[in-house]
């Protein structure tokens, strides 16, 4: 199956939902994180609940499987770094993309930063783990199982 069209379609639904729920706006995110507005938590909670119920039913039906990941140090340190950036910009990777899509100019420096940050991570992991990048063939599909 060619994955492009279904992936694009899911992305469009995701992007419209993020925009229509106001998540593109840093003031909405800030209002939620300052506990002035409950929308984000209800929105997020109902999204997790829907996904959770759906995935559990599908797993029971034998349609999908997954392996839960154990906690490692990087999950906490990475999320601390991520949380600082998210807290200052009041935008995370999905909404940064919808900002660009909506034509918001301030999204451009944010996007540039995200790409630089991802690039810096990839470069650093190659330097510290050279053995894991032996051939271009492996590097091309370098998604470690369970990584973003």
């Amino acid at each position: 199956m060619r994955p492009r069209l279904p992936a694009l379609a899911i992305g469009v639904v995701f992007g419209v939902a993020l925009s229509w729920s106001g998540m593109t706006s840093p003031d909405v995110i800030r209002g939620a994180l300052l506990f002035e507005d409950s929308y984000l938590f209800l929105f997020f909670g109902s999204a997790v609940a829907t996904a959770s119920i759906g995935l559990l039913l599908l797993r029971r039906a034998g349609r999908v499987t997954w392996t839960p990941q154990r906690i490692a140090r990087r999950h906490v340190t990475g999320s601390l770094i991520f949380g600082v950036g998210w807290g200052v910009a009041d935008a995370c990777p999905g909404p940064i993309m919808t900002q660009i899509g909506q034509g918001i100019a301030w999204g451009v420096p944010l996007l540039a930063g995200v790409l630089l940050g991802v690039y810096a991570f990839v470069r650093r992991s190659e330097e510290t783990e050279p053995a894991r990048d032996p051939a271009p063939a492996l590097a091309r599909g370098s998604s470690v199982p369970g990584s973003a």
Partner: protein
């Protein structure tokens, strides 16, 4: 926010259905950071043949555009508290830096608000629960801190 919000009990489940669809179609977590990562990876190796993660990200982009066209414009002007409280000259560098932390941190943690927060939490993955509690806690603390300072 200039446009009315879609009810949370519609918008939330819609997002949840996207997570389910990605698991069914690609047997993977829906993670937006994965799309950025895929693009950086391929472009570095001089390729523009992207996998589904990048196409999902392109979809998110178009979703924003479709919304802005339908709603008659973007959802906000300026950039939140940053352009209200700080000199505009400072805002772009701060956003680049924040973006850098977002990208680097999400890659380190193996996911962002969607990969860990949404998809990982939905399957009760311990790593994702720890990550989600950490980034929510940190972002909440940062917002209270910046409100106190500026």
């Amino acid at each position: 926010m200039l446009h009315p919000q879609l009810a949370w009990y519609v918008a939330g489940p819609l997002l949840g259905l996207c997570v389910i669809a990605v698991r069914l179609l690609f047997n993977a977590r829906l993670g937006v950071t994965g799309g950025y990562s895929e693009i950086v990876d391929r472009v570095r190796h001089r390729s523009l043949v992207f996998d589904w993660r990048a196409w999902l990200l392109f979809g998110v982009l178009f979703g924003g555009t479709i919304f802005a066209l339908a709603a008659g414009g973007p959802d906000f002007h300026g950039y939140g508290w940053l352009t209200r409280e700080l000199d505009e000259v400072l805002v772009a560098p701060i956003l680049v830096l924040s973006g850098g932390l977002i990208g680097y941190g999400a890659k380190t943690a193996g996911g962002c608000t969607s990969g860990n927060g949404l998809s990982g939490t939905a399957i009760l993955s311990p790593a994702s629960l720890a990550a989600t509690a950490t980034f929510f806690g940190t972002a909440i603390a940062i917002n209270f801190l910046t409100r106190a300072l500026f």
